[in-house]
């Protein structure tokens, strides 16, 4: 077992070398016994290490003479079981001393070297182009190849922002009677998955089962497309939002350029034929544009430069910062659904941001007033959304849903330990962490289906992720500044978005981290 000798010797070599390692903004001086210069006054925290494995800590420093260390300290035995207050210790059995010098830098930047590690793992070419991100992605295999089904808990960018997500997915048992989903991490992010399972909903044929804006499954029937659709620029956009064809609504560049903090929104006004019922469900097939991603990457992290490390590692761990961010996001982001009550527009629902990768279907219950038509309006931060399809339907009762837990996880053809499944079984303090390039197959055993009914599946997920700070973010900033949402945030965001959106969109979707 040569490793042991090596680790012992390697560590001891530090003492032999007796070097000085200086960190920016402060220093850690490490001196082996033979290199120690005396007498010496140390005014910062100091630790002394002895041959028998004991350690002495002098929080306020001390004085080192030719044969002793003097100061108020505590001597800890090997294993730390015993402690003794000391004021002087002999140097004859000393291995070395560490002195922790103070200075002006801030607290821990826990991602400080992530970018360097990433560069080693993936190569600088991939790294510098790695724009893709924002969440775990889920795929299914089809006869035509893989199909992106969902992205989970988008924009849950810190532990305190951990979110739940519910996504309608198209899933059928394979030839073995097993439901399979592939879970991937295709971004330079660490994903922390707390909970993951399927919801199975049995329902009458012809029913669309989707989550509503509060994350609850609902059934919709008798959908009709809008009669008309006009955006905030006065453009007729019906052809863009009429069908699920990936021809989607986007705001005009002129509208983006004229967006201000006082008038931050674009909108799409919809006219539907009045249904017979007193309320209806507005069905949306939407996803975010990359505007929110630019906000995150460039304004929050990129312009913060080195400060981004502190923002992620420290500020986003503070409830105050998260509340501030959450309030700003609540006010600025998401899609508001408004209904015209005859006198004016009344907000009736709000669709949270869904992420920029997968199309997501969501339903919002809306009132139906007297008249021949129903007038609804989608209002959102200019160009923050892509709208692929809009329809108005009738809510219908669906049977109770059943939960299907993960039965097996297959990693590169190998069945993995059940402890991995347990980490995703319930929302608790246990997480499964995945890193860029991860791809595993999740297998579910379907429950029996009620006779005469169809079945739909939804993917329920909970977790958060942390972004890997890119080298160019650290290098690019001239005057690092921690992001704080302010009055000029919208103007800065729109100017930035307008300048880079075309290239960014092209690069983003082509820069996924390759998976195994």
């Amino acid at each position: 077992m040569s490793w042991l000798a090596r680790i012992l010797s390697g560590a001891l070599a530090v003492a032999c070398a007796g070097c000085l390692v200086i960190f920016q903004g402060g220093s850690l001086e490490q001196s082996g016994r033979s290199e120690l210069q005396t007498p010496r006054q140390v005014d910062s925290a100091m630790k002394a290490f002895f041959v028998d494995g004991s350690t002495a800590v002098f929080p306020s420093g001390g004085h080192i003479t030719e044969d002793s260390i003097l100061g108020d300290g505590t001597l800890y035995s090997l294993g730390l079981a015993d402690t003794t207050r000391v004021t002087a210790l002999p140097l004859d059995a000393l291995v070395g001393i560490e002195a922790f010098q103070g200075s002006t830098n801030g607290p821990a930047s826990f991602l400080a070297s992530v970018s360097l590690t990433a560069a080693a793992g993936f190569g600088s070419v991939v790294l510098f182009k790695a724009l893709f991100g924002s969440c775990p992605t889920f795929y299914t295999a089809t006869a035509d190849g893989e199909l992106l089904q969902a992205e989970a808990f988008s924009y849950s960018i810190a532990p305190l922002l951990e979110g739940r997500d519910l996504d309608a997915i198209t899933l059928r048992p394979d030839a073995d009677g097993v439901l399979r989903l592939e879970l991937r991490n295709e971004a330079l992010e660490t994903h922390y998955i707390n909970h993951l399972d399927l919801l199975a909903v049995d329902h009458a044929p012809g029913t669309r089962v989707i989550p509503n804006d509060r994350g609850v499954p609902i059934g919709v029937v008798e959908e009709v497309p809008p009669l008309d659709a006009i955006d905030g620029s006065g453009r007729r956009v019906l052809s863009s939002i009429h069908a699920s064809d990936d021809r989607a609504f986007a705001s005009l560049d002129e509208r983006i350029a004229n967006t201000t903090s006082e008038d931050p929104s674009d909108f799409v006004e919809l006219t539907f034929p009045r249904p017979a019922s007193e309320d209806a469900v507005l069905v949306l097939r939407v996803r975010n544009s990359l505007l929110t991603t630019v906000l995150f990457y460039d304004l929050m992290l990129g312009q913060a430069g080195v400060g981004a490390l502190d923002w992620i590692g420290r500020d986003m761990a503070r409830i105050g910062t998260v509340v501030e961010m959450g309030k700003w996001f609540q006010e600025s982001m998401g899609m508001r659904v408004e209904a015209h009550d005859g006198d004016g527009w009344v907000e009736v629902g709000r669709v949270p941001d869904t992420g920029p990768i997968a199309w997501e279907e969501v339903g919002v219950r809306v009132p139906v007033d007297d008249g021949d038509v129903v007038r609804l309006r989608l209002r959102f931060l200019t160009d923050a959304w892509r709208i692929d399809r809009v329809s108005l339907g009738k809510a219908t009762r669906i049977g109770g849903e059943s939960r299907i837990p993960i039965a097996r996880v297959i990693d590169d053809g190998v069945l993995v330990d059940d402890s991995i499944i347990r980490r995703m079984a319930v929302p608790d303090d246990d997480y499964l962490a995945t890193y860029p390039g991860t791809s595993v197959s999740l297998e579910f055993d379907p429950t029996s289906q009620r006779p005469g009914l169809e079945r739909s599946y939804l993917l329920a997920s909970q977790g958060y992720y942390t972004e890997w700070v890119r080298p160019e973010w650290l290098r690019g900033a001239q005057e690092p500044e921690i992001f704080r949402p302010g009055e000029d945030t919208v103007e800065a965001l729109m100017a930035l978005w307008l300048s880079k959106k075309d290239d960014f969109e092209a690069d983003f979707y082509s820069s996924k981290i390759p998976v195994r």
Binding site: M1, W3, L4, A5, R6, I7, L8, S9, G10, A11, L12, A13, V14, A17, C19, L20, V21, I22, F23, Q24, G25, G26, S27, L28, S44, A45, F49, V51, G53, T55, T74, Y76, L78, G79, L80, V95, G96, F100, G102, S103, T104, P107, A108, S109, F110, A112, T117, A120, D411, V414, V416, D417, S419, I420, D430, Y431, L432, A433, T434, Y435
Partner: protein, 150 residues
């Protein structure tokens, strides 16, 4: 353990690490104030959040204490068990409170990162074999758990 008497390797690796330290001495690394590290006034080593992936498991997250570091691997203390992660193991360490270096991927760690993080171990200057035996005894163990390579 015979390894504890492997003096020739001891000397060879000492020279390697010594050379590394020599070339990196006084290196400027971006990071935090070392005096702000919780390690500064504690006998413990830095806390390490370990995301480990074995030959037949997915990632498992553990919290451990950094005990000693060398160019060949890292020893952590987890639940009163000394665990050795050799270089090449599929483990990622998030080291809390170690300025400059905070994440080490043991599959292919930068030797400089190992050198930088070593001072934040409980025993930055290492332990001789006798001290290791005594440490194991205080923990009620007679050996170190070695993480297998994938």
């Amino acid at each position: 353990m015979t390894a504890r008497r492997d003096v020739s390797r001891w000397l060879g690796i000492s020279l390697v690490v010594g050379a590394l330290l020599g070339t990196t001495g006084c290196a400027i690394r971006s990071g935090i104030n070392p005096a702000a590290s919780p390690v500064a006034d504690s006998p413990h080593g830095a806390t390490v959040v370990v995301d480990w992936r074995g030959p037949d498991t997915l990632h498992v997250r553990d919290r451990a204490e950094l005990i000693a570091v060398a160019d060949t691997g890292v020893i952590l203390l987890h639940d009163r068990v000394l665990v050795y992660y050799p270089v090449g193991a599929r483990g990622v360490f998030r080291v809390r409170g170690a300025p400059g270096v905070s994440v080490i991927d043991m599959r292919d760690p930068d030797p400089i990162d190992l050198v930088d993080v070593a001072p934040y171990a409980r025993h930055p200057f290492g332990l001789d074999s006798g001290a290791l035996d005594r440490l194991l005894a205080t923990l009620g163990r007679d050996n170190v758990l070695v993480r297998r390579l994938p």
